[in-house]
């Protein structure tokens, strides 16, 4: 049987945009105050954000707050995300959630945590990064690896260099500029030195699907167990409560059985030729 969603309604709660922070040219972080508190989201879970009259889309929590104040980092790629990213403080939105299975943090105590992000994939990892920085995850050690197309496209750069510096961030870009001090190439180039003892590693990975495949393969090549790798999958999601059917991936409704999956669960499903 599929997982039972904790929230089952299609009716959103109204939320007010309290603050808008521009992250990148096409990306902003919205801080929302919900008119009725929801369950406190687990990092890795997502909400269905509704721009009234435009559409409703799945957006991860980039700040989990306490259930009445949450953050979302959103990239403008289409009509609905356009409407969301052009909101001004005071705007009214709808929000439903939290939905889905978040990062499994119960596995972390005593282990070496690798947080590996590609592009916007850092958004759903942000609450984990913050917890790791605050030292509340019980890990033996933690490191942050972030890849981006270019330095301009690197999310949360200020936070990375300040608040998150204790995670010894390894940054790579595909296309460097003259002033770039990090690595050049895929995020996997930094993996070798980061892994240490593969038996102790727990990796949580988020980014484009192709990036996650490459990272997972590389980790396994370096003897990290597939069940010690967590990834987060994107599929078309319209209801969030395993009812509309769009997000199916094999037997899974990624909206409730995911989006976070262990690589041993995800790999066979992703191996089926979809196209």
């Amino acid at each position: 049987m599929r997982s039972e969603p904790a929230v089952t309604t299609l009716v959103p709660t109204m939320a007010t945009v309290e603050a808008v922070r521009r992250e990148l040219d096409d990306t902003v972080t919205l801080s929302l105050a919900l008119s009725e508190p929801s369950l406190t989201p687990t990092p890795g879970q997502f909400a269905m954000l509704w721009a009234p009259g435009v559409g409703e889309v799945a957006i991860s929590y980039s700040g989990v707050g306490d259930g009445s104040r949450v953050d979302h980092t959103i990239r403008d790629v289409g009509a609905t995300t356009r409407a969301l990213t052009t909101c001004e403080p005071g705007a009214e939105l709808g929000s439903r959630g939290p939905f889905g299975r978040g990062w499994d943090l119960s596995r972390l105590p005593g282990r070496r945590l690798l947080i590996i992000a590609g592009g916007l994939g850092l958004a759903p990892l942000r609450p984990v990064v913050e917890a790791a920085t605050a030292g509340t995850l019980g890990t033996s050690s933690a490191q942050l690896l972030v890849g981006a197309r270019s330095p301009d496209a690197m999310l949360y750069r200020d936070e990375i260099s300040t608040h998150w510096a204790s995670l010894e961030p390894q940054l790579t870009v595909d296309h460097a500029t003259d002033t770039w001090k990090g690595g050049v190439g895929p995020v996997t180039i930094a993996l070798g030195s980061a892994i240490g003892d593969p038996a102790t590693v727990e990796a949580i990975v988020c980014g484009p699907e192709i990036m996650m495949r490459v990272v997972a393969r590389e980790l396994m090549d370096r003897d990290v167990a597939p069940d010690a790798i967590q990834v987060s999958l994107e599929r078309n999601m319209q209801c969030g409560v395993a009812r509309c059917g769009h997000c199916q991936l094999g037997p899974l409704f990624t909206c409730v059985d995911g989006p976070v999956l262990r690589w041993d669960e995800a790999e066979p499903l992703l191996a089926v030729r979809e196209r």
């Binding site: 721009a51 009259g53 435009v54 009509a79 609905t80 939105l93």
Partner: protein, 268 residues
């Protein structure tokens, strides 16, 4: 999220067409006056003598490109417009006049006109997207009134129009209409045709004749053998795929049996 205070200006343009698609706007009897409050209809020759030179927030274009002058005019339309939506089979697929593309223009001109030398037309009739970038294409010969309102409404709301791109069969089933192909053996293009009409023909006991053009991932090559088994000869199939959306892919690639034209018939 709030509506722009300024009413967006909208222009409606006509190229080679029958006028039916722009008439659809005037056929929105219940909504017309409300629409005119929400948008500023700045250029609409069929409806108003007052014209503006633009620029326009939205241009709605009917008709296909068939003369050299059309090519220049459509470029101007694009330059003057923030968004361009094309409406109808003529604008999105060339329309029935694109049948000219399969034959010999000179011959057609001689058939219709005594002094064809005076005509200046292009050899081919082409959809608007062949010439400029188009923001959205609304299908149909003619377009459906509810869909036109959805295009305007979604434009005002800043979202993509909610217009399904799958088959007429889906609409047929949603309407609870028994399938004429399966239940009566009537040849029907529904399985390859873009929905939007609400399965009109099957509701009138007739097979769909494809006036909304091919759906997303249409497979006429799979339907064709079926039509054959239902007793539809190949020349008839060729003709039914070659009407109002003849120049759209993949309809235009449907194999051309011989004989289909008169001269072929007389020699075979």
């Amino acid at each position: 999220m709030s509506r722009e205070p300024r009413r967006p200006s909208v222009a409606i343009w006509k190229f080679a067409s029958c006028d039916g698609c722009q008439l659809t706007l005037l056929d929105c009897e219940d909504e017309l006056l409300r629409v005119a409050e929400l948008i500023d209809i700045a250029y609409f020759l069929e409806g108003s003598s007052a014209t503006s030179d633009g620029p326009f927030d939205l241009s709605i274009v009917e008709g296909s490109i068939s003369t050299a002058e059309d090519i220049e005019r459509i470029q101007t339309v694009r330059e003057k417009s923030a968004a361009v939506v094309t409406i109808g089979a003529c604008a999105t697929a060339g329309g029935i006049q694109a049948l000219r593309n399969f034959g010999d223009v000179e011959e057609l001109m001689r058939i219709v006109y005594a002094t064809p030398d005076f005509l200046s037309v292009l050899d081919t009739v082409t959809p608007i997207t062949d010439h400029i970038d188009v923001d959205f294409e609304l299908r149909g010969c003619p377009i459906d009134k509810r869909q036109l309102l959805e295009v305007i409404g979604s434009y005002l709301a800043g979202r993509r129009p909610q217009i399904a791109t799958d088959s007429v069969c889906i609409e047929c089933k949603m309407a609870g209409q028994p399938c004429v192909l399966v239940a009566e053996g009537t040849p029907c293009l529904g399985p390859v045709t873009h929905g939007g009409c609400g399965a009109l023909c099957p509701r009138f006991g007739r097979g769909c004749y494809g006036c909304f053009g091919p759906m997303d991932s249409a497979r006429p090559e799979v339907l064709a053998p079926l039509l054959t088994t239902m007793g539809m000869p190949e020349d008839e199939q060729y003709r039914v795929f070659h009407t109002f959306n003849a120049w759209s892919e993949p309809f235009r690639d449907q194999p051309r049996p011989v004989p289909v034209t008169l001269s072929e018939r007389s020699t075979s």
